[in-house]
């Protein structure tokens, strides 16, 4: 690095920028603008003249978890319909405009939100804003288009879940574990419910959730923040507020789960034992300590559960740790894969012993804590490069954490986490908790594996 360049340049930038909307909060980048329009639309603009691409995201705060029984898949189906005709534009204009100018456009529906994303060069950006405003209020819902999109999303459901044995087992596990919780359903929904959707039910969904006061517009890239904000006010300001609050989703860590679930699927001849530990929502007071815990357990080259279970104790062919992250909670999952000769009770008992070993917290040293903080810093710095990544972080921070400013202070929050907080979080959610157990078996096991699979651990030592 050129000596002194970085702080110097930062100081120059500060001096050049003068007073900005973001200047009052030291963690918010200079030039950052965040405003809620009178109609309730939240707007965040982060100018970055060093990026060649403008990323625009519209976060509608409704996802599959807000659907009612009998309409599973409606949020995702509606996402498709948003690319349809409006009162002012033909169906294909939004996509064709992006293609013609070398841009990218897409959308995704999760359990918690539906997000429309655009990336395009700065000279084409204002047209994107006009089209986003247009479809927020002027979408035309027609029978013919709905019937076509119903076929398309059903094909999507088939390709993503029905025809992939791993997805099939995940969807089945989600349903079996979560029961009546709104997160029990995959966003692609059910074929039956998708088939039952009507223009009237889609219109009700649009009227309920697609309003400025249920949305967040995020723009990151080489734009003039003030001029862009004026443009946003002009285009989106006249759209009336309305709609309804989606139903509240219960947090995952206080939900009641079955103790154990068994599943079988058309998988290769290995059995997978899983221990799951629910976690609180990302805006909880333990969230930062859990963030560090995730980094320390499995964020780098060494996965501590795998290290102990596979390398030290030779209890499985493969093992590891996964973290699930949703708006109303998440989970830590330890998994272990073995050939189908071992009894389920033995597999779980072995995993519990490994959990006990981790619970001694020998891994929780000052040095490792510092390394975890630095790893988070590296990730944060890496995410600064791409406009789309930063737009995503801002949108997520507002909807998941209640404050878009928290997109910018993760490293600072992580820095404040202590060893004691990490230990307490581990104890509260993993060490002292009875895990949810899930066991997945292959439907068919070759005779040779069944008879001689027990020899594998001997050979692998």
């Amino acid at each position: 690095m050129r000596p002194g360049l970085f702080p110097f340049t930062a100081a120059v930038v500060l001096a050049c920028c003068g007073t900005t909307a973001g200047a009052g909060n030291p963690s918010r980048p200079s030039g950052y603008v965040s405003e809620v329009l009178e109609n309730g639309l939240a707007v965040s603009i982060l100018p970055d003249p060093t990026s060649p691409i403008v990323a625009t995201q519209v976060w509608y705060h409704v996802g599959s978890a807000h659907e009612e029984a009998g309409s599973r898949g409606l949020a995702h189906l509606f996402e498709h319909l948003m690319f349809g005709e409006t009162k002012h534009r033909p169906k294909e204009e939004y996509s064709r405009f992006h293609t013609r100018h070398g841009g990218d456009e897409n959308a995704f529906t999760t359990t918690d939100e539906t997000v429309y994303v655009s990336e395009i060069g700065p000279e084409s950006h204002s047209r994107v804003l006009a089209m986003e405003a247009d479809r927020m209020v002027s979408l035309v819902l027609k029978e013919e288009n709905l019937e076509n999109e119903k076929k398309i999303v059903t094909e999507e459901l088939r390709v993503r879940t029905e025809n992939d044995p791993y997805s099939r087992v995940l969807v089945a596990a989600q349903k079996a574990l979560l029961g009546k919780h709104p997160y029990a359903y995959d966003p692609s929904g059910s074929k039956k419910d998708v088939a039952a959707a009507t223009v009237a039910s889609c219109r009700r969904f649009y009227e309920a959730y697609y309003h400025p006061n249920r949305a967040h517009l995020v723009i990151v890239g080489p734009v003039d923040a003030e001029a862009t904000l004026d443009e946003v006010r002009r285009l989106f300001g006249p759209i009336p507020a309305g709609g309804q609050e989606p139903p509240e989703i219960p947090p995952l860590h206080t939900w009641t789960y079955p103790e154990e679930i068994d599943l079988s699927e058309d998988l290769p001849p290995v059995e997978t034992a899983i221990l799951g530990f629910p976690l609180p929502p990302p805006d909880s007071e333990d969230a930062d300590a859990l963030d560090v815990l995730a980094q320390m357990l499995a964020g780098g080259s060494v996965d501590l559960f795998r290290e102990e279970h596979v390398r030290v104790r030779h209890r499985a062919i493969e093992a590891g740790t996964e973290f699930l992250d949703l708006r109303r909670g998440g989970g830590i999952v330890f998994y272990a894969v073995s050939l189908p000769y071992r009894r389920k009770t033995t597999a779980f008992a072995d995993m519990m012993e490994t959990r006990e070993e981790l619970s001694r917290l020998r891994w929780l040293t000052d040095e490792r804590l510092e390394s975890a903080r630095r790893a988070v810093l590296r990730q944060e710095l890496g995410d600064l490069i791409f406009s789309a990544d930063r737009a995503d972080a801002v949108g997520r921070a507002r909807w998941w954490l209640g404050d878009d400013g928290r997109a910018f202070d993760r490293a600072e929050r992580i820095r404040a986490v202590t060893r004691e907080q990490v230990a307490a979080a581990y104890g509260r959610y993993v060490g002292s908790r009875r895990p949810i157990r899930l066991y997945v078996r292959p439907e068919k096991v070759p005779l040779l594996v069944r008879l001689f699979g027990w020899l594998y651990p001997l050979g692998s030592r």
Binding site: P29, T99, E149
Partner: protein, 440 residues
């Protein structure tokens, strides 16, 4: 050590500043600098001082296509380097908060590392030790062997894998390297002394690259590259380079192949042929034609198969993008009961495209799209470096990717349509169908 808060806040200020640091431009914002580290090693740097991060890429000119690599088990020899029997190297990577990975592509063995700029010296020390690791973890290799067997079984239930496999088998002879990714892998070698020998040979191959992108100067990069690797060997093994067989001719190829996977609720189609190599004089015309046929959300194929009748969720084209010929295909999938109608529509889309070519509006839109898309590759220094390394690996001139777009934009509609008349002749294509077994 620099304060975390200070570092990230400064980086955000720098990236987010509203003063004019330079308008977005089509010109690459990061220049590629090269120098000779020694007689067998190229040094490369793409500077980017916006954030205190450095990416390191080491590339060695051998990949899984190489007969020598296969004979020497070079893939596992190279990739196991991060695993010593005590797990100490991985622990060091984590202590440095560095991302570190080793892998082998079809043409290259590569080591990638990313770290905070201030940790670069320690990370390079680690890289040196990884490439010189003599205590390879034999137990890990045994697990890799088992995993490889399980992954192969798993791939046989994946319609996309099976389609690619059938395509490669239709186009290439059994011993052609282009079939390797789709055939049952060789058993993982666990004799560590053999692997150490192979790895040592890889690291010393002449024609290697030490590359950096990010927050370091040319002087720092040159210093970092010096002595990082052992002296290169004077010569490469004789059978290092891949030997490609002739692609089967359209006349001798099968016209239809059906692969069966139980429980599928859809049928997956691929209308395939041999691809156009990147160096072909027709490649610029191909780029336009391919974009119009299957390269975007309102391409000919998505309109015919998705937007008009809801036959599918996905339809498009897939190109090999290599200087040697590989498979090129038009693909889609649909529900089982709709298979015949969709196959007919797919064939009809190809027939019409071949017969009528593209319109002036389609040509103009394609050029706008291809030119605009170049901005996406200019967001990060690591992307510029990645493009440079790819062009070098392929033996293409620097700036090839941009040049193709410019050459394409100079072609007339007639020239493009003449190419379409030659390349998209339906008689050149064969059909792969991955489907459930017959019966209810």
């Amino acid at each position: 050590m620099r304060s975390l808060h200070g570092t990230i806040a400064a980086a955000m200020l720098l990236l987010g500043g509203s003063c004019a640091l330079g308008a977005a431009s089509l010109e690459p914002p990061f220049a590629v600098q090269t120098w000779s580290v020694d007689e067998g090693t190229l040094g490369v740097l793409v500077e980017d001082h916006r954030t205190p991060l450095v990416t390191v890429r080491l590339e060695f000119p051998v990949g899984v296509w190489s007969p020598w690599a296969r004979r020497s088990h070079a893939e596992e020899a190279f990739e196991i380097g991060l695993h010593d029997s005590a797990g100490a190297l991985r622990a060091r990577a984590d202590a440095l908060a560095a991302g570190l990975s080793l892998g082998m592509g079809v043409r290259e063995a590569r080591l990638a590392a990313s770290c905070l700029e201030e940790d670069l010296p320690a990370v390079l020390e680690l890289v040196r030790d990884v490439l010189d690791n003599r205590d390879l973890d034999r137990r890990e290799l045994k697990r890799w062997r088992k995993e490889s067997e399980i992954s192969w079984e798993s791939s046989q239930k994946d319609p996309s894998f099976r389609g690619n496999q059938a395509e490669a088998r239709a186009l290439f002879e059994r011993d052609d390297p282009r079939r390797i990714p789709w055939e049952k892998p060789d058993r993982v070698e666990t004799r560590t002394e053999r692997l150490v020998m192979a790895r040592d040979a890889i690291v010393r191959l002449p024609g290697r690259v030490i590359a950096f992108a990010g927050d370091l100067t040319r002087e720092e990069a040159e210093r970092a590259a010096t002595g990082l690797l052992p002296r290169p060997a004077p010569l490469s093994p004789e059978d290092l380079g891949p030997v490609f067989r002739k692609v089967t001719s359209a006349g001798s190829r099968v016209h239809e192949v059906a692969e069966r996977i139980t429980r599928l609720t859809q049928v997956y189609f691929s209308l395939g042929r041999d691809s156009l190599p990147l160096g072909s004089p027709d490649y610029p015309a191909f780029v336009i034609a391919d974009h119009v046929l299957g390269g975007h959300f309102y391409s000919r194929l998505t309109v015919a198969l998705r937007h008009e009748g809801g036959e599918t969720y996905g339809a498009g084209t897939s190109d090999y993008e290599d200087v040697v010929t590989g498979p090129y295909s038009l693909f889609t999938f649909t529900r089982r009961e709709n298979a015949a109608a969709t196959e007919a529509k797919l064939r009809e889309a190809l027939r019409l495209f071949h017969e009528r070519g593209i319109t002036e509006e389609e040509r103009s839109d394609a050029i706008g799209s291809l030119r605009g898309r170049r901005l996406f590759d200019r967001q990060a220094a690591a992307q510029i470096l990645g493009r440079f390394l790819w062009e070098r690996r392929m033996g293409l001139p620097r700036g090839f990717s941009d040049e193709v777009v410019e050459r394409a934009s100079r072609l007339t509609l007639e020239e493009i349509n003449r190419f379409i008349g030659r390349f998209y002749d339906p008689r050149e294509f064969f059909l792969i169908r991955v489907e459930p077994p017959p019966g209810p």
